[in-house]
């Protein structure tokens, strides 16, 4: 007996453990996959070769200098499979490590990339000559020789490598100068670089020469002083973030400490010229800087020296197709520099393409989507002109504008635009806006202090964009304002404005700025850009002053409707050197309007378009999936067996070979087979865990049977069968919404059935519930018995033909039990039937016409209650002398003493009246203390299920 029973728990335990193992291993696999994915090794796709290359350059071409280089060679490159090369130059103050990530990306694109630390920086030898054609440029020529000698690098001819030159700022200047000097260069991508270095550092916005320019001391000092710049954006190149200089390299030697720019490492200069004021600058460059910085003016010699390092004079010699990338947030090399380069190179018939992006020396890489655009353009340019792959990139002009803040990573977001032709700084249309204001006297502060702040080098685009850094000193600036704009203007290019100025000294240094003023009065200076002017020959009285036209720095900005434009003329600016002597100028508006160049750009489609299609596809897929699921469900429903089993057509319930085995292997019902016929009140009897409730659950469609069928009026019952609507049920206790009253609960239930209101028979149900006024109280406050009665009433709503009640008398008091008995018996008339499950034997015996006894998942007996009880009612006698009594009773005809283990006297009277038996005992002198009729069904039940008190659920 034990062995088959003990198998079940083992099987169950095994099943549980198996499930745990499956779940556990699934979680482990997922976790491991996540960790592996997160820590996956990046596939290199290239190898690096660091080397010190000694080149000979200088005016005579025989001065040796050591250059610290790293050569990136893509995997698979060999003498048989030669690859095109890229010479990648770094920015001022950087080293070859500054451009490492760019080099890696280009190497990943299949280019052999040579990076080097320019002379005068890092571990390279030599001095800084500012991209001098005889020094830095010649160094680069020697590197081209070196590339040509590499067997892996593709060549156009002997000694002529297929090579593009890419670089930002200092590196961009080198790219231009190298392309002009060496015809072997096949394409260049100079970024955020200069056209004329003297104009960049000594700008004058009325068209004056550099010798009368206003010295850009902020930027100049930063470069010359080095030191504090750290890993500066000047090392920007290729449109990606400058690597920290001390970032570990894969194979290279340790690189110099951060900020190892010029001036910080004078002792390293191999020449030993440890001039503390010059650092690693070449003597002529150093001297020129010192002269300019001291006087605030550029002398002709200094300007000539800067011109020597400028592409401006040699642009006609550039034959390599050029992609010019310039930053809008750049107070050092503004858009005008790239414009001049573009015009000069295009004049020689060389393909030129211009792209503006929202970064620059102030803005860094710009927003992610913008730097991605720059990267894409660069690779596209190189692929066509160097690698020889892909269609010609064309010469359309792309630019971008800050659209706002990215909602997710709190960065800026740029929107890209495109026009077919490069419009230059004048735009392809003009908008004229009148700015007015009275003539205003303004003071030049002595020594330029306090000074207005327009931009702070390296402060980033945020400050200047929001105009929070910008500040003008009261009394030192004049304002001229426009009326609110009737409509928005998309400015792209250099606005111009006319001014008149008067000065007692005849001279004035002024800074002209264009603010965008919103209706609340907040003024924004786009990118912190200002136009410095040095006016000479001024009259003392403003009336006599002639208008001058000032070209403001090029901007890309949308000035919204309702905004005003404000032209501010200030006497000082922290970034520039201003006259030392205090002075009073008078400034008035000129005779012309403010001219705003505009460009009608078309937004460049972004990945958003793709994602929109993905979204549309997703929605379509969901719609299709939904329709498919509904159709399949309908079809399955239609196919469902709706025939009537002829044998059971008139039978309220027929259960056939029902079996329910749970997922963990527990068999709750192994074989249950019974019928309920009209007019019957059938009791489903069994100890706890015998399978009664499981049977009822299956009957209610709550649980799927493992095997077997249930027929209700001949129709197959499956979960959700319509025929369930003919059954009223109370299974496993009442279930009500606690916040509703009893009546509301019944109504809510009936509403859920969707059946006609009149069919519910609320009055009958409420009468059965017998709750009186309590029916209006919330069910939360009900006693157990009240809930039970309400649940029975709910089961009877609509007077179903089969009533299924699970432990209906649970919680009822004896009078209510008696009443319930009558109700059920009355209910099972008119063709209706009742199935009652209970473990209260007396109740079943008194209520039911038929009984089904279940034990351990099986039917052990079924039939009319009388049949199960048997025809021999027994009586228990409690007597003074059981032994004597036995003898007496044994003599009585028909009376039979049943064997009883506990020494009690149980007698089958077999029709003999109990009074007669008692009289017989008393006559024999035996005292009778008690005569108790034995509960007959209990006998039968105990006989059927055994007296083991353990429920079969404990199997």
């Amino acid at each position: 007996m034990r062995s088959p029973l003990s198998a079940a728990p083992v099987r169950r335990a095994l099943a549980t453990r198996r499930r745990r193992i499956v779940a556990g291993s699934a979680a482990t696999v997922l976790l491991a996959a996540a960790v592996l994915w997160a820590a996956r090794p990046g596939e290199a796709g290239f190898r690096t070769e660091p080397a010190m290359i000694s080149v000979r350059s200088g005016p005579t071409g025989d001065e040796p200098v050591d250059l610290d280089t790293t050569f990136y060679l893509p995997d698979g490159a060999s003498a048989d499979r030669r690859v095109p090369a890229v010479l990648l130059a770094h920015g001022f103050g950087g080293t070859k490590e500054s451009v490492r990530s760019d080099a890696e990306e280009l190497a990943g694109q299949g280019y052999a990339v040579l990076t080097w630390t320019a002379r005068g920086f890092g571990r390279s030898g030599g001095q800084i000559h500012l991209d001098s054609p005889e020094h830095e440029v010649r160094d680069a020529e020697r590197l081209l020789d070196w590339l040509a000698a590499r067997p892996e690098v593709r060549t156009d001819a002997a000694g002529d490598p297929r090579v593009g030159v890419v670089g930002g700022s200092y590196g961009g200047g080198l790219a231009l100068l190298l392309a002009a000097q060496d015809k072997r260069v096949d394409a260049i991508v100079p970024m955020i670089t200069w056209n004329d270095l003297s104009r960049a550092f000594l700008p004058e916005s009325t068209g004056g020469p550099a010798t009368s320019g206003v010295f850009k001391k902020g930027w100049a000092g930063l470069f010359f002083g080095g030191g504090n710049a750290g890993s500066d954006p000047a090392g920007f190149s290729g449109g990606s973030a400058a690597q920290p200089e001390d970032a570990p390299t894969s194979a290279g030697p340790p690189s110099p400490a951060p900020g190892a720019g010029p001036g910080t490492g004078p002792g390293r200069a191999p020449s030993g010229a440890a001039d503390p004021s010059c650092g690693r600058f070449a003597a002529d460059v150093c001297a020129a800087y010192l002269r300019i910085a001291a006087s605030g003016r550029g002398d002709q010699a200094a300007v000539d020296l800067l011109r020597r390092s400028s592409p401006a004079g040699v642009l006609d010699r550039i034959k390599a197709p050029t992609l010019l990338v310039q930053g809008e947030a750049d107070t050092l090399f503004p858009l005008a520099e790239a414009d001049a380069n573009a015009r000069g190179i295009a004049a020689a018939g060389t393909p030129v393409r211009v792209a503006w992006f929202t970064g620059g020396h102030d803005g860094g890489d710009g927003p992610r989507n913008d730097s991605d655009r720059v990267k894409y353009l660069t690779v596209q340019w190189l692929d066509h002109y160097v690698k020889g792959e892909g269609a010609a990139p064309g010469d359309d002009f792309t630019y971008s504008r800050i659209a706002g803040f990215d909602a997710l990573d709190r960065g800026l977001v740029a929107t890209g635009y495109r026009t077919t032709d490069y419009p230059g700084l004048g735009g392809d249309a003009r908008r004229e806006v009148a700015v007015t204001g009275p003539a205003q006297p303004i003071a030049n502060p002595p020594n330029g202090n306090p000074a207005a702040i327009s931009s702070v080098p390296f402060a980033g685009a945020f400050g200047s964009l929001l105009g929070r850094v910008a500040g003008d000193v009261p009394g030192q600036h004049a304002r001229f304002e426009s009326a609110p704009l009737p409509e928005a203007v998309d400015v792209a290019g250099s606005p111009t404005v006319t001014l008149r100025a008067a000065s007692a000294t005849g001279e004035a240094v002024l800074f002209v700025k264009l603010y965008d003023v919103d209706p609340q009065g907040a003024a924004t200076l786009p990118n912190g850009l200002v136009a410095p002017v040095r006016l000479t020959g001024l009259p003392a009285q403003i009336e006599a002053a002639k208008p001058v036209t000032v070209t403001l720095p090029a901007i890309v900005r949308r000035v919204e409707a309702g905004h005003r434009l404000r032209v501010v003329v200030a006497t000082s600016d922290q970034a520039y050197t201003t006259p030392v002597e205090p002075a009073i100028y008078t400034v008035a508006a000129g005779d012309g309007p403010l001219v705003l160049p505009t460009v009608a750009g078309v937004p460049i489609p972004t990945t958003a378009t793709v994602w929109r299609w993905v979204l549309a596809g997703l929605l379509a897929a969901i719609a299709v999936g939904l329709v498919a699921v509904v159709l399949i469900a309908r079809r399955r429903h239609r196919r469902q067996d709706s025939s009537v089993h002829p044998e059971y057509a008139g039978t309220p319930l027929a259960v056939r070979q029902l079996r329910k085995e749970y997922a963990d292997g527990f068999v709750a019902v192994s074989n249950v087979d019974f019928e309920v016929h009209p007019g019957q009140v059938v009791g489903l009897l069994g100890p706890n865990g015998a399978g009664k409730t499981t049977t009822l659950r299956v009957l209610m469609g709550l649980t799927q049977p493992t095997a077997g069928e249930i027929y209700v009026f001949g129709r197959r019952l499956v979960p959700g069968s319509s025929v369930l609507s003919r059954i009223g049920a109370l299974v496993e206790g009442p279930g009500f919404l606690p916040h509703l009253s009893g009546l509301e609960n019944l109504k809510a239930y009936w509403r859920a059935t969707g059946r006609p209101w009149a069919d519910a028979h609320f009055d009958e149900a409420l009468e059965i519930a017998g709750l009186g006024d309590s029916v209006h109280r919330r069910t939360r406050k009900y006693s157990h018995g009240m809930r039970q009665r309400l649940a029975i009433a709910q089961a009877m709503l609509g007077l179903p033909e089969l009533l299924v009640l699970d432990e209906p008398t649970d919680g009822l008091d004896p009078p209510q039990i008696a009443e319930m008995r009558r109700v059920l018996q009355r209910y099972a008339t008119e063709g209706r039937a009742v199935l009652v499950s209970s473990h209260l034997l007396a109740e079943v015996e008194q209520t039911c016409t038929h009984a089904v006894v279940v034990n351990k998942g099986r039917i052990v007996a079924s039939g009319p209650v009388e049949e199960i009880v048997g025809e021999s009612p027994s009586v228990l006698f409690d007597v003074t002398d059981p032994e004597a009594a036995r003898d007496v009773l044994g003599r009585l005809a028909g009376v039979r003493v049943l064997p009883d283990a506990e020494g009690q006297l149980v007698v089958d009277t077999n029709g003999t009246a109990r009074s007669e038996v008692v009289a017989e005992l008393v006559r024999a002198g035996i005292g009778v203390d008690r005569v108790v009729p034995r509960r007959r069904l209990e006998d039968a039940f105990l006989a059927l299920v055994g007296e083991n008190s353990r429920g079969s659920g404990d199997r």
């Binding site: 996540a34 997160a38 659209a403 706002g404 803040f405 909602a407 997710l408 709190r410 977001v413 929107t415 919103d518 209706p519 949308r558 919204e560 309702g562 905004h563 972004t606 990945t607 958003a608 994602w611 929109r612 979204l615 997703l618 929605l619 969901i622 309908r634 429903h637 239609r638 469902q640 709706s642 659950r697 209610m700 469609g701 649980t703 799927q704 209700v712 009026f713 979960p719 959700g720 069968s721 319509s722 025929v723 609507s725 003919r726 049920a729 299974v731 496993e732 009442p734 919404l737 606690p738 916040h739 809510a748 239930y749 509403r751 859920a752 969707g754 059946r755 006609p756 069919d759 033909e801």
Partner: protein, 288 residues
């Protein structure tokens, strides 16, 4: 025709498609105290915020670019509404939606009334569909109540002013209202993922608290993981990753990239969770 085959043998007047009508379920939920409280709080919150703004302490601590939304909240009804949404989007609305969607099936199971609905019989898929639609209707109602009250109270108090933000030019009221409606729409879509998660848990567990709390907990977990930038690209797959993308609707032109991706993410998650919920519920043994 399909009906005739499904109704044969049924009690008079019974039609599966008529069981548990939307209105009946709506009334069932409407009578619940938690529904009334949640909706009432949606009305109350903007009023509380409005009163709180009357206590102007005057100290100005700067913050990110979007802290300006708080500074601008009193500049008009539209800005006030925007602020009310900002403060409630990340947590309050999540809890409310999780409450409506997570509680709906689990509470019926815990009361024991679920089995009586199934014995009616309400077809399981229909039961779930009606419950889901009603829960979503209440979630939407909560969102609208919050925005509507804020708009009404804010406009009465601060006037019908243009929508301002520091990230873009001010928008005239009509355009601003349009953006606000778009923000509401996007929030509703993002909250679908919460709704899906809560609903799935509601089907899986019989404890209403477990479903609601579980959904909120997982949502918070996802938010925390989203803060860890080291996770890189994985973060884009978190359901909360695009939860704040609605701020992009305030800029000009509107930044739709993240909105579209956010919609894809939320709809995909919601569909997945709901599919699992239906799959599970139409197969499981209801034991409670």
């Amino acid at each position: 025709m399909a009906q005739s085959s499904s109704t044969v043998g049924a009690a008079a007047g019974y039609r599966p498609s008529a069981t548990l009508p939307f209105a009946a379920e709506f009334r069932r939920q409407a009578s619940r105290r938690r529904t009334q409280l949640a909706l009432g709080f949606m009305v109350l919150l903007p009023l509380i915020v409005l009163v709180a703004f009357q206590f102007d302490s005057g100290d100005d601590d700067g913050g990110g670019e979007f802290s300006s939304l708080a500074d601008l909240a009193t500049s008009g009804g539209l800005n006030f509404t925007l602020f009310s949404l900002l403060v409630s989007a990340s947590f309050l609305l999540v809890v409310v939606v999780a409450l409506f969607c997570g509680d709906t099936v689990a509470s019926e199971a815990s009361w024991g009334s679920l089995r009586y609905l199934l014995a009616v019989p309400v077809p399981r898929a229909r039961l779930l569909a009606v419950k889901l639609l009603v829960a979503l209707a209440y979630s939407g109602l909560a969102l609208l109540l919050l925005a509507g009250t804020a708009l009404l109270a804010g406009t009465l108090r601060y006037g019908w002013e243009p929508l301002r933000s520091e990230v873009s030019a001010q928008l005239d009221p009509a355009e601003g209202l349009l953006r606000l409606v778009a923000v509401l729409g996007y929030l509703a879509v993002v909250l679908l993922a919460v709704a899906g998660l809560a609903f799935l848990l509601s089907v899986v567990t019989d404890a209403a608290l477990g479903a609601v709390g579980g959904a909120v907990l997982l949502w918070i977990l996802s938010s925390i993981l989203d803060q860890i930038t080291a996770l890189g690209g994985i973060r884009a797959f978190l359901p909360t990753h695009y939860a704040n993308a609605w701020l992009g609707l305030l800029s000009t032109p509107v930044q739709t990239d993240d909105l579209v991706r956010g919609c894809i993410s939320a709809i995909a998650y919601a569909t997945l969770f709901w599919s699992l919920a239906f799959w599970r519920f139409t197969r499981k043994d209801v034991t409670s």
